[in-house]
């Protein structure tokens, strides 16, 4: 329950901090409605649409309603996929409004003990701290390799976890050992005549649990003609914090990253996680009220580029790429598409692979329901969205689903597990597939 005191504080802060011009910029035409996954999946409930949420935010500012449980529910239910933004003719920055509203609510509302504990572990303990992230991943590796995982599954211990967490446990990738996690390069040369100097944003989850994908990313960059620097002092991008009402922490992380990359002298800062990339490009907005950091954030933000975008620019798709015969399909990363506007490049790259037949799935740009920690905290809606997604995937008859963000990758794996399709369908990150295609094309004939 939100107490009377909390409601008052939230309302006052809404009045002080919400961007009223931006709220008025929504002229309520409803063009966003067909693009909103929660509006569709809730059976066209306006309270779960972008237009409805903006109306609620404005009503709280105007004092027409209190920020009660139902208002919070509407905002919590939002995936934050921002699919409403590119279709908005008025150009409303919905993502910024949502972030601000959530920040105010979560900073002023006493959460239940368990929710608070989860949030604290994730936001304060784990993600900002790369060495803890590594330790955590190391522990997971120990769990997977020591037989504990088998034991846990055999003893039925897993039954005590909610269904989607249980499946999630099964789909986590086999993680690298602690030793591997600690020996990360900080500089790599181009393997062909150099075209660009880039800095690599390795990301916290990507550089631990998905280390192999990071390695593949760097290899591709080297093959495409990039010298790579990987600043050691970089941190988590802060997206999870920013999207979940922990804006202050997100700002601290942003400053650390800006400082880490400022002296790299790189043409671009490369990311391979759509979620991180979008948040990094938003640093200028995040720090807009900080006179010292605002210009530095802007200089940082313009350099952010997704791996598929830089590969496309360097004409990686003109190199020989080949795979055994198979159908592949692509699931957009919401933030890569809706915020970074990168959606043609990954498709171009995939279509250039000989042997693979690219088939676009229906509504490929609709969110898969992963959305940060959404699939854990709003699992019912998340699974409903995932079920729809899996229907579209299956219609393509694809063997390989390609994603561009770790959250989407895990969610799609979850989808495959839930549908019992693990034997004839796989999910890969686009860079892993491109590396596979690059190497397959170069195999000696007959091997």
């Amino acid at each position: 329950m939100i107490t009377v005191q909390e409601k008052k504080r939230i309302q006052t802060e809404f009045q002080d901090k919400m961007d009223y011009d931006e709220l008025l910029n929504c002229m309520r035409c409803g063009f966003c409605l067909p693009s909103c996954p929660t509006y569709i999946e809730s059976g066209y409930d306006e309270a779960h649409s972008p237009r409805g949420r903006i109306a609620l935010m404005k009503a709280v500012v105007d004092g027409d309603i209190e920020p009660d449980e139902d208002v919070k529910r509407s905002l919590d239910m939002c995936l934050g996929c921002r699919a409403c933004e590119p279709v908005c003719p008025s150009g409303v920055n919905y993502g910024h409004l949502l972030e601000q509203a959530r920040d105010i609510i979560y900073q002023n509302h006493q959460l239940t003990a368990s929710t608070k504990a989860i949030r604290n572990i994730a936001f304060k303990g784990l993600f900002p701290n790369q060495s803890r992230m590594r330790t955590m991943t190391g522990l997971l590796g120990f769990y997977q390799r020591s037989g504990l995982q088998k034991a846990a599954r055999r003893t039925g211990l897993m039954k005590f976890l909610p269904e989607n967490l249980r499946t999630m446990e099964q789909v986590l990738p086999e993680v690298p050992s602690l030793k591997q996690l600690k020996n990360r390069p900080d500089h790599l040369p181009s393997l062909v005549p150099q075209k660009k100097k880039v800095a690599f944003f390795s990301g916290c989850l990507m550089d631990s649990m998905f280390m192999a994908t990071n390695d593949a990313t760097m290899k591709l960059l080297q093959y495409a003609g990039c010298e790579i620097v990987i600043p050691d002092s970089q941190a988590c991008c802060g997206a999870l914090h920013g999207h979940s009402g922990e804006k202050q922490q997100a700002k601290e992380l942003a400053k650390r990253n800006i400082a880490a990359f400022e002296t790299s002298g790189a043409d671009y800062i490369i990311t391979n996680a759509g979620g991180c990339g979008a948040f990094l490009t938003d640093y200028d907005h995040l720090l807009k009220d900080d006179p010292e950091w605002a210009p530095r954030a802007a200089a940082f933000a313009v350099k952010i580029k997704d791996i598929s975008s830089v590969l496309s620019e360097l004409e990686f798709d003109k190199l020989p790429l080949e795979l055994p015969e198979q159908i592949i399909t692509y699931q957009d990363s919401c933030h890569l598409k809706n915020v970074q506007k990168t959606f043609l490049e990954p498709r171009q790259l995939l279509q250039s692979i000989a042997g693979a037949q690219y088939k676009e799935m229906k509504d490929a740009d609709r969110c898969c329901g992963s959305a940060g920690i959404y699939n854990i905290v709003e699992s019912e809606m998340s699974m409903q969205i995932l079920d729809y997604k899996m229907e579209q995937v299956q219609d393509t008859m694809a063997k390989t689903i390609v994603t561009a963000n770790p959250g989407c990758l895990l969610q799609m794996k979850l989808g495959i597990e839930r549908e019992g399709l693990a034997d004839n369908m796989r999910v890969v990150h686009i860079v892993d597939l491109l590396l596979e295609a690059y190497e397959y094309a170069r195999q000696p004939v007959g091997s």
């Binding site: 067909p34 237009r51 109306a55 208002v71």
Partner: protein, 470 residues
């Protein structure tokens, strides 16, 4: 407020999951796409079928509780804002295509179906449903029927009304009636079908409709004509029609509108000229070729500085789609955009465009104009700020002057958006007091307790803006 007994009864009819009355739910159904109008309903109810709809109406009629039927809330005349509270009726459970009859060329649908979904289903069968309101991706057929919506293809093909053959309607007393049918000819009694189409939810609730389909045109071509002079563009419109050519679409966009639409759509629209005409013709290939060539010549005769024919359907579709975003894109410029849809006979279009510009100057307000120039239906849109009371007052005066001018030219106060609450104070300009009295008589006959969408169409004497009443 609804009393507890009534809430229990409504919940019993539609099921607990389809009755909502918490504040957040009520707030998100307190508005439509019309600026400056907002009012909280007492509850939001979603019946699952015609019978439940009838039970809800009967109950509300007995208890004199207002009912506002609502599609997707894209209305532009405040027609779906619950100004007197009561119940907002949703059709999210009634979205089915009941039948596509390929022998009689009809489609029978439920009101909650999204317009574009229906158009896609129809076109998959090689058939054509022409009415295409700009909001068709969002709007429902029920909303289109109640508002008698138009669209870009209205010039050649007419509006929603011209495609409605039969309806199932629930009356306020709970009676379920059927009007018309799959009949090319039918003169059995009054034409209630036409009466309900465009009645803005003030007479009853449409629960099913049978619509006419036509064969899909063989080809279509789309072109843009560029002008340095707004009035020259308007003259070209009249000239095309006077030369006995009826294009499918003949749209007008002025410079500021072009600029914001291009900013959003980024398809390479010209932004350094005063106006464009977006023209489309469909039909057999040789007719389309001939008409497009003639239209291009007429545009040039009327001072077009450039005429470009779209090279592909992709390009043409991008142009049409961009045009549909005009109103919302204008919202980029100012916090509040207020639009009207005064309509004049086609021959008067240049005169009307001139008058709008003069009126904007006279009242010192910023008006952009776009619209369906070919059928005389313009959308002068005022860019303003709802917080600036003094300017809003001038905006209202300017629109009043525009309405007077339109009627003076033999036109009307609204071509396709409906009267709703926004234009009700001006209805008398078009109908006269006797005309309004005749319409009130009809309203009284169907809805003696005035529960159906009260406060719409017929106005209190003065123009009154309503704020949220929690």
């Amino acid at each position: 407020m609804l009393n507890e007994a009534l809430k229990r009864q409504l919940t019993a009819i539609v099921g607990p999951e389809n009755f909502q009355d918490n504040k957040a739910s009520r707030l998100v159904y307190s508005y439509d796409a019309t600026p400056q109008f907002q009012s909280m309903p007492d509850a939001v109810v979603a019946p699952r079928n015609t019978e439940e709809t009838a039970s809800v109406l009967k109950l509300c009629n007995e208890n004199k509780v207002p009912i506002v039927p609502r599609g997707s809330g894209t209305n532009l005349s405040a027609g779906t804002t619950p100004l007197n509270g009561g119940i907002v009726l949703l059709f999210k459970h009634m979205q089915d295509i009941i039948e596509i009859d390929e022998e009689n060329l009809t489609i029978t649908v439920q009101p909650g179906l999204i317009t574009l979904d229906m158009i896609h289903a129809v076109e998959a069968k090689g058939l054509f449903y022409p009415p295409d309101p700009s909001s068709m991706k969002i709007s429902t057929i029920g909303g289109n029927l109640n508002e008698n919506s138009g669209g870009l293809r209205g010039l050649k093909y007419g509006v929603t009304r011209d495609y409605v053959m039969g309806l199932e309607v629930v009356l306020p007393n709970g009676d379920i009636i059927r009007t018309g049918g799959k009949l090319a000819k039918d003169v059995a009694g009054y034409d209630l079908t036409r009466l309900f189409v465009g009645s803005e939810g003030t007479l009853g609730v449409i629960t099913e409709a049978t619509l006419k389909l036509v064969p899909i045109p063989e080809t279509k071509k789309t072109m843009l004509a560029l002008y340095e002079d707004i009035e020259a563009a308007a003259e070209a419109v009249s000239s095309i029609i006077a030369h006995r050519i009826i294009p499918t679409t003949l749209e007008f966009l002025d410079r500021p509108t072009l600029k914001v639409v291009e900013e959003f759509a980024q398809i390479g629209l010209p932004t350094d000229i005063e106006a464009v005409l977006l023209i489309e013709q469909d039909g057999p290939e040789e007719v389309v070729e001939r008409d497009i060539a003639k239209i291009a010549a007429l545009c040039r005769e009327n001072q077009a500085i450039q005429v470009d024919v779209a090279k592909s359907e992709v390009e043409a579709d991008a142009l049409r789609t961009a045009r549909r975003t005009a109103l919302s894109a204008l919202a980029r410029l100012k916090p509040t955009t207020i639009l009207e849809d005064a309509t004049v006979p086609r021959s008067k279009i240049a005169e009307m465009v001139r008058a709008i510009n003069d009126i904007a100057k006279e009242y010192d307000v910023e008006i952009c104009t776009f619209g369906h120039a070919g059928d005389g239906n313009l959308h002068p849109t005022c860019l303003t700020d709802v917080r600036n009371k003094e300017e809003i007052h001038r905006v209202e005066q300017a629109f009043e002057a525009i309405f007077h001018k339109a009627v003076e030219l033999g036109g009307t106060i609204t071509g396709e958006h409906g009267v709703g609450a926004m234009k009700s104070p001006y209805l008398h300009l078009k109908l006269g007091e006797e005309g309004i009295a005749a319409m009130k008589g009809i309203k009284q006959a169907f809805d003696p307790n005035n529960i159906m969408n009260p406060g719409k169409v017929f106005a209190k004497s003065e123009r009154k803006r309503v704020v949220v009443q929690p």
